[in-house]
Symmetry: C2
Subunit: 231 residues, 2 copies
DNA sequence: GTATTTTGTTGATTATTGTCAATGAATATT
DNA sequence: AATATTCATTGACAATAATCAACAAAATAC
């Protein structure tokens, strides 16, 4: 019976996120009865910028990218998310639209939570509201870092910074390296794909990183950090 | 007697901000008894990036800029604020530090509100917590726009965008134009002062704007908007 | 297994943007 | 009023980064 229920939702995904710790039994149950789990193949869009924001998701398996669709088909990747991570958006409590696009990069499981349910819980539970404020503010903090990253660093610094971000904040639990394709690396660092490729090659030629196809290993974190600082 | 009280705080400043509408009498009083009003001269720093976040402010008179201090003494202006506006920060509920610097540009009055008082009220009043979430999310929204603005537009588009921002969102209630110095315009658009000056001159030469010293009037909003779109 | 499409790579060129230096104008200081 | 000091301006130049085109390699479709 319990296994059957797990088909509908993802079991205990919300208990793995600190933000949901403050929920009462009853509130957890409210979420559990409405939420459901969906699987995505690489390249599938989960949320599309411009559509109505009806749900948030919790990524329970796989890998997604969250990005802004900008001018002339250029995208700006704001973050990558791996399990267990919540993907919300600034449309919550404002215009209830999705202002970013979320796309699966690997085979991904996402657990959908209805925003109205969430809203109801926030209205009941101050601690949860505070946890959410904290979550939003910590995201704003990364955003500020990203501003400096993108507007005040040269291409070398941006690529180094992006690699360090992937290594330390996205794939922190992985042995060795990680995979990312060239276009995504370019979209993460706000430069053309060709420029990204060139910088990557330079870093490889200096043995700061190893590259085999899309698989990247950082060999010299210290020097990458220096490059990231200066630019 | 009432006049004497106004020396300590700024009278009814919080009643002019929608975000404080949900406060009870008692909660308003909590804020009123601890808050106090401070005057700043142009160039004075109100909050300094890196210091402890003990208060938020409400700007009741004057003009301030909110900016990130980045690399090599370069600043990135996130927003300008005029009365009545609240200046908070992502340190709230996270690390309680100031992550941005706030500086008076004109003679400014700011009303200081203690973050602990604020925190206490948030814990009591869900509607206020929601209003705050809404406020934070709407700021995140502008942040997203700014990302595209700064990373995907050329210098012409960025200057045009900045001028439209100043005209429509900062000085929207002013007849004619507004004042901004060249360095601030450059810091708002993430370019060098010299580049900013050159673009400004081009826009002036094409009669899209009038410039007299630091005073700028937008003559052709439509064409500026076109330039802002394309870049 | 071959064809087709996507993704990655490289070099040449152009476009964009920053830096440096010199100078003028405006403002503040003594 | 004379002197600093800051701010604005301009041109020349260098550095940075995008575009374009051609091609190679890998993945996918047929």
């Amino acid at each position: 019976m319990k296994d059957l229920m797990n088909i509908k939702h993802c079991g205990e995904c919300i208990s793995n996120l600190p933000i949901f710790r403050s929920l009462t039994e009853e509130q957890s149950e409210m979420i559990n009865t409405t939420r459901c789990r969906v699987r995505y193949r690489p390249g599938e869009t989960i949320f599309k910028q411009g559509t109505a924001m009806t749900h948030i998701i919790i990524v329970t398996e796989g890998l997604v990218k969250v990005y802004l669709e900008g001018i002339n088909d250029r995208n700006l990747i704001l973050r990558f998310a791996r399990p267990v991570a919540m993907i919300g958006g600034p449309g919550f409590f404002t215009d209830y639209k999705n202002h970013v696009t979320t796309m699966a990069i690997e085979e991904t499981s996402a657990c959908f939570i209805d925003v109205n349910t969430l809203k109801e819980i926030i209205e009941q539970n101050q601690n949860f509201a505070i946890a959410l404020l904290k979550w939003v503010n910590s995201h704003t903090l990364s955003t500020y870092t990203k501003f400096i990253e993108l507007t005040q660093k040269g291409m070398h610094g941006r690529i180094a910074g992006a690699l360090l971000y992937l290594h330390k904040e996205v794939f922190f639990d992985m042995e060795g390296g990680f995979r990312i394709n060239r276009q995504d690396l370019a979209d993460l660092t706000a430069m053309s794909k060709e420029s990204g490729i060139r910088i990557l090659k330079e870093l490889k030629d200096e043995n700061l990183i190893s590259v085999v196809g899309n698989y990247i290993v950082l060999n010299d974190i210290d020097r990458l950090e220096k490059i990231s600082m200066k630019g």
